[in-house]
């Protein structure tokens, strides 16, 4: 994204950020073009409703299943490939293998959650994006990306009474 193509305003509280976002939506700005940045989450506000859909919990379950399957295969295949002398008792032991399967199930869920967070948040991206250090002092940035022409003027008009100048 070209940072010069973004316009933003700083709001002093979530209520004014909410009003600004709603005004942008009423003006026809697409939800995916609106960016709201804050120093804390505002769960009760619909600042970015479209951002809430995530498959993270289901992917964590999938990671858990894969981790568990991997754990079970690791122990059972190793036990069969390198059998130890058990005096006629079971080579593949479900009770003790279950413990390792359990731990790797959990590890699978943990690592998948971490991976999904990094990819979908997204993290580890340092490229220029709309940001203002006033966010750290409690201000809320409401920005619009990909504006152009007449639409640009419309957004500027909305941003002006919102408490901050368009930048």
């Amino acid at each position: 994204m070209n940072p010069k193509a973004a316009l933003y305003t700083m709001c002093s509280d979530p209520a004014s950020a909410q009003r600004t976002v709603d005004a942008l939506l009423s003006a026809g700005v697409r939800t995916e073009d609106i960016t709201v940045i804050s120093s804390e989450p505002f769960d009760g506000f619909e600042l970015a409703r479209h951002e809430k859909a995530t498959l993270m919990p289901w992917l964590a379950v999938l990671g858990a299943i894969l981790g568990g399957a991997g754990g079970f295969l690791l122990v059972s295949q190793t036990q069969m490939s390198y059998p130890i002398v058990t005096g006629g008792m079971a080579i593949v032991t479900p009770w003790s293998n279950g413990i390792i399967t359990y731990e790797l199930t959990m590890l699978g869920a943990i690592l998948t959650t971490l991976l999904v967070l990094i990819l979908t948040a997204p993290l580890l991206r340092w490229k220029q994006e709309p940001y203002d250090q006033q966010v750290s002092d409690g201000k809320i940035l409401v920005g619009v990306t990909h504006t152009s022409g007449n639409f640009d003027e419309k957004v500027r008009e909305i941003f002006s009474p919102g408490g901050g100048a368009a930048k």
């Binding site: 009003r19 009423s26 120093s39 967070l117």
Partner: protein, 458 residues
């Protein structure tokens, strides 16, 4: 009194931004003790594990006591933090990070002890469960291999659980500092900006982690207890060991957390954040765990006494009225007699009261680990397998160094990372101030924008 966002930033970034001469003095002192510990370990590596007091039949002495103790302490953080997060306890906000840090460091220290105990740590990779042709390993039936999996899973999970909520605070530090620190925190903040998508993903991930980490934490100390319970050694081979160890771990963990919080409160001047209500609530939890611990000890010993099996009763009397009696009754005093009145009487459940109780419990729980391990090993079934154990200066030095190491890691961590989660605290302050938490609570003024707020008439 509620604080503004700027005030919170200022208060909690102050310890990170300023370095007093006292910091260097503390680091140097603790560092010297840690160095002494490493020297003692080096001495053991050079001369062999015989310089330690462990010998037949007591092969598990101070080192495994420390292992169990530190793994227990590690239950302070992640488990307590996860439970409080899921129950949405508001008073948790200032303490979750203090607790989560304890978990990561205590777990790392605890995991070192099997290596120290090995004598030849360069062969530690034999524990790693990969297919090989050595014939014997990996033996997945061994609780020691279960430990390997459980501890590593818990360590990875705890590090993740600690780091995730730190990321927004790193971003804050990035914005507030300049120069080299800014560069450092720019890297550590992983490109965090605070978009609503990032917040939502972070909170979802934290929620999943909180759900996953609780059973993992329980499994870790369960498996540590099975290191003992799976062997036919008098007073070890018991079904009560798993819940008994888990309860003991949470017990010692909360005590360690309170001790750490008292020091942080005093030295980092966090009186306005680590308020008496945190100590009062943790004190109540500690009281509950103290009662639970007493119940487990009583149930375990009563059953052994009633069963009157000769080898078990020999170990029982060894601790009740034999050479270990002083340690046993000191343990009971530290874990129950001293803490009970301090925590049960509201007037005494102050910061000082909970601190004294917690210090006693930390000592008492270390003694408990020692008394589980040593008496049972020194009095097995047949007289030819009886023996004594006396720790040497090597073990004592290494043990002291781990306590210093824990404090050192904590001090250094608090120097680079805000020890209280700033963004979570701000949410708490917003709630306390009665500021709107959701759109329906917002009074919307009519204006030229003609805004549409869901849940409110405009």
């Amino acid at each position: 009194m509620t604080k503004t966002s700027e005030q919170i930033n200022q208060d909690l970034l102050r310890p990170v931004g300023r370095t007093s001469p006292r910091f260097f003095f503390v680091v140097a002192t603790l560092g010297l003790i840690v160095l002494a510990g490493f020297s003692a370990w080096g001495y053991q590596l050079y001369n062999g594990v015989g310089v330690a007091g462990i010998r037949r039949p007591v092969f598990w002495g101070f080192y495994i006591t420390n292992f169990v103790f530190w793994i227990g302490i590690s239950h302070a953080g992640t488990l307590i933090s996860a439970i409080l997060r899921l129950s949405n306890a508001g008073w948790r906000r200032p303490i979750t990070r203090c607790a989560e840090v304890i978990t990561v460091f205590a777990l790392s220290i605890g995991a070192m002890f099997p290596l120290i105990h090995l004598g030849r740590p360069w062969q530690a990779f034999w524990l790693a469960p990969y297919p090989n042709q050595r014939g014997l390993w990996p033996n997945y039936r061994s609780p020691l291999v279960w430990d390997f999996f459980a501890i590593n899973t818990y360590l990875i999970g705890s590090i993740t659980f600690l780091i995730l909520p730190i990321i927004p605070d790193f971003a804050l530090a990035r914005d507030k500092f300049s120069g080299r620190r800014k560069k450092l925190y720019t890297v550590l903040s992983l490109g965090w900006r605070g978009t609503q998508r990032q917040w939502h993903r972070l909170e979802t991930a934290m929620h999943i982690m909180a759900i996953v980490i609780i059973p993992v934490a329980v499994s870790v100390h369960t498996i540590v207890s099975w290191d003992f319970a799976m062997t036919p050694v008098p007073m070890w081979h018991s079904t009560i060991f798993a819940p008994y160890f888990v309860a003991g771990a949470i017990f010692s963990g909360i005590a360690a957390l309170i001790v750490a919080m008292v020091f942080l409160r005093h030295f980092l001047r966090l009186e306005e954040y680590l308020q008496p209500v945190c100590f009062d609530n943790l004190g109540k939890l500690l009281l509950l765990m103290s009662l639970l611990w007493f119940y487990f000890v009583f149930a375990e010993r009563l059953t052994t006494w009633y069963g009157n099996e000769s080898s078990e009763i020999a170990v029982l009397w060894l601790t009740q009225r034999g050479p270990y009696r002083y340690l046993f009754w000191l343990m009971v005093g530290c874990n129950f007699v001293i803490p009970f009145p301090l925590l049960a009487i509201k007037r005494l459940r102050t910061i000082t009261g909970t601190f004294i109780a917690s210090l006693a419990i930390v000592i008492g729980m270390w003694l408990e680990r020692y008394l589980i391990i040593v008496p049972s090993l020194s009095r097995k079934f047949l007289p030819y397998a009886w023996g004594t154990y006396r720790p040497t200066w090597v073990e004592i030095t290494i043990t002291a160094a781990t306590f210093a190491g824990m404090a050192l890691l904590y001090v250094i961590f608090a120097k680079f990372v805000p020890i209280i989660s700033i963004w979570e605290l701000k949410i708490g302050e917003r709630e306390t101030a009665g500021l709107p938490q959701k759109a329906s609570e917002v009074e919307v003024a009519s204006g030229p924008l003609r805004p549409v707020v869901r849940g409110a008439e405009t």
